[in-house]
């Protein structure tokens, strides 16, 4: 696997204000990469730097093997901007034709592609309608279709579901999954954690223009978990015996919590407790959600 996006120390300053302090990232081909952070953390600025809309103050980077800002690299890049403001005097079909031409899609292929995409995003009945008459959700859908015209190898989606209802969100999720299955790298900018949790393979957390950590969501699911147990007849021997499955054991009266290395140990613990005469009222696994992780990493100040 080769890196689709690779950046080292990208920085953007506007006068005294630092929008992005240090963007160092590697995104692999075919990955769905979530870019998370509170509002104003520099997510959009980062994406704009990757697309060559903004030139970085310092640092370097590549997308699809070409240096940032190189227009050739954008041949296989799709982009759905955050505010999806388009030339609204065009009809949906004209709009897609315009952007298909800018992608240099051959005219024969383009017409089939336009029909396919209008169908995909559920706007086939609105092909002749002017974008001015579109709702927010419809604009986001047509914007998404626009980003798919060139069958991209890399697609940037900046808050792609902000204007969508639950049906639209599911549609976007399905499209992302299909793209990823087809080998397209998806770079998803979002603050909707539940969306990211469902769709992304890996996430980066950004705050005040700095990537704090990147982690795979798989490790989040399969990683350690804390189990809370409510039981009576607990004694020191039992607590000592539990040490073989986990550490960080804390007992407080009838409440017991311990951290396991894997969920698979839970039945064994249950059996062990029962065999040792402990009366169990509840065993609750407490999985770390993306939201917990977000708050842990980014903090609770949020975007200001």
């Amino acid at each position: 696997m080769s890196a689709t996006i690779s950046t080292r120390g990208l920085k953007k300053e506007y006068g005294d204000k630092i929008a992005v302090a240090d963007l160092t990232l590697d995104v692999e081909q075919g990955e769905v990469f979530g870019f998370l952070g509170p509002n104003g953390a520099g997510k959009t600025t980062a994406v704009k730097m990757l697309l060559g809309l903004i030139s970085p103050t310092s640092g370097r980077g590549e997308i699809l093997g070409a240096p940032l800002g190189n227009h050739r690299a954008r041949e296989k890049v799709g982009f759905l901007p955050e505010h999806f403001r388009f030339h609204d005097w065009l009809t949906a079909e004209e709009f897609l034709r315009l952007h298909g031409n800018l992608y240099r899609v051959s005219s024969g292929l383009l017409e089939t592609r336009i029909a396919e995409l209008l169908d995909l995003v559920g706007l086939e009945r609105h092909a002749e309608k002017k974008l001015r008459a579109f709702s927010k959700g419809m604009l986001q859908r047509i914007g998404l279709a626009q980003a798919l015209l060139n069958e991209p190898d890399l697609i940037f989606l900046d808050e792609p579901t902000s204007g969508l209802d639950p049906v639209g969100r599911r549609l976007v999720r399905d499209i992302i999954r299909d793209l990823s299955a087809g080998g397209t790298t998806v770079f998803l900018n979002s603050h909707l954690l539940s969306e990211v949790e469902i769709t992304c393979d890996r996430v980066a957390f950004i705050r005040q223009g700095e990537v704090l950590t990147t982690s795979s969501l798989q490790s989040l699911v399969e990683g350690e978990l804390t189990v809370e147990i409510r039981a009576s007849n607990l004694n020191q021997a039992v607590l000592d015996g539990l040490a073989r499955w986990g550490d960080n054991i804390r007992a407080d009266g009838d409440h017991l919590s311990l951290t396991l290395s894997s969920e698979a140990d839970m039945p064994a613990i249950n059996r062990f407790l029962v065999e040792n005469g402990v009366d169990i009222y509840a065993i609750r696994p407490k999985q770390l959600s993306l939201e917990d992780l977000f708050i842990q990493v980014v903090g609770t100040e949020g975007g200001l």
């Binding site: 809309l53 890049v77 005097w89 800018l102």
Partner: protein, 278 residues
Amino acid sequence: MTIFVIARLTFREAARRKILLAALLLGLIYLAIYGVGFYYVNQDTTSSQFGPGLLELNQIRNFLFMAGLYVVNFLTVMMAVLTSVDTLSGEIASGTIHTLVSKPLQRWEIVFGKWLGFVGMLSLYLLLMAGGTIVLVYAISGYIAPNVLRGLSLIWLNAILLLGVSLAGGAVLSTLANGVLVFGMFGIAFVGGWIEQIGSFIQNQTAVNVGIVSSLLIPSEALWKRAAFEMQSPLVSALGFSPFTAASMPSQVMVFYGMIYAVLALMLAIRLFSKRDL
């Protein structure tokens, strides 16, 4: 070619605006008034029993023709500025530019494409207005002014030059600030041009120099003066002064300067837009 995709988009966008419709309507009203006016003046002067000779007749016809082209020049210049003043700044402000610049094309292609689109529209407009005037004058009186093609080229250059300035301003300024800039410069050139005329008439060298400096700042008025000089009748040139002709006629060097200026303005627009964060 993606340049032509942008050019077509620009042409279509300008064409669907009310500005173009208004300009076309005003243009048609102008042509109608002009045609009727020219017809009666021509009829009166030719049928008068103290009938002027052909020399004086052509004098009057040339004067009226120049008056018509003065309006055409003004309308074309207005069109050049009003349609292009927000084409970059407006797209930057609204964010529609983002889907364009993220495509596999270079920034200069966007600016050059837009420029081409506007040049196409302005050329058509000028052709329609000036062509209408020429055809009317010819149909009514059979008169054709000298060097019409050269004169029209200069009016065309004038519009292209202001288009370049308006694009360059729009690459860095807001629409409003850009409008103030372009019309401010146009105003300076206009006032400077007249100071030069009057200065030349009363033989005041300082006033002439003020005019020359303003023409260097932006040679739009100078280009019109040269266009008027090219098309005026030889007799007027000999007599020296009429509102549409030049006492101090801008030199060929100024015309050349105007061409360079128009090219540089476009290049500046490209450079400014290419460097800009969007």
